[in-house]
Amino acid sequence: MDDRLRETLSAMMDDEADELSVRRLLSHGSPDDVCQQWQRWQQVRDLMHDGRSPMEGIDVSAGVRAVLEGRTVDPYARKERFTKHPFAGNGLPLQWRWVPCL
């Protein structure tokens, strides 16, 4: 990523980038580089404003991306879910069963 694009990214941090520059940046061949740079600057900002180091923060970006790209199981399915008991019905009160989905 060249300095012109990085300057655009910096302006985006400050809500000062114009539409055309943002489009140019996002069509950049290496979105991972863009995201990494963005993340580091966000970390510096967190440190400056909240005194929070990256170690104390969380990073779910990779997990979110993996789910959206279908590379991993959706957390909705992975997390504990309440589902209807398979044998419920026939006038019996509805029962619930906890099913740990892996």
Binding site: E7, E56, V60, S61, V67
Partner: protein, 226 residues
Amino acid sequence: MTQTNLMQASQLAVKTGKSGTPSMTSDKDQQLGKRSDSQTDSQLVRKVRNDDRAAFDLLVVKYQSRVASIISRYVYDSQEVMDLTQETFIKAYRAMERFRGDSAFYTWLYRIAVNTAKNYLESRSRRPQGSADVVDAENFDDGRQLRDLASPERLLHRDELQQALSQAIAGLPEELRSAFLLREYDGLSYEDIARILECPIGTVRSRIFRARDAVDRHIGPLLNES
């Protein structure tokens, strides 16, 4: 230099600006700064709607700490906070078509986060007694994580980072430091900073970028250790 000192330095930079105008952080100016807060978000949201996944990555990185912070007001288990944070963003992505832009993106995301946390708590309250052992196991694992977070090593690392940050900012050339601090601590727009420093907006933009870059290079190795 402590964080307070940095803020004082920023205020000093305003007071000693070439224009000598002391009212640069007035409410009106702050509001002007805030008015454009969602400009980048709006641009990114439009891209996401055009199926630009990279734009969504930037929104996740930008807001994940804040979303986690909201969720942690409802859920105390750090692993669950992480899962629910992830779930919030996945829901947001899938609902992006329904985001009309009536409110700021963050406000909309905030609502999703709160609802996700509340739904989670509601589902837990219905959990049968038989699952208590699983819950206990989760809590046990999480307790260990929480202790790790508060470990002396991490506190030391935070101090090191703060110190390195202060050094990096103190080592910036004056014109870069002034622009950078006016933006970061006073939240001024580039236009306002340009007025204070009596230079073109493009120069402000460039100075802030160069300052950010220099700070990043200075503390980058420490950030990587994280």
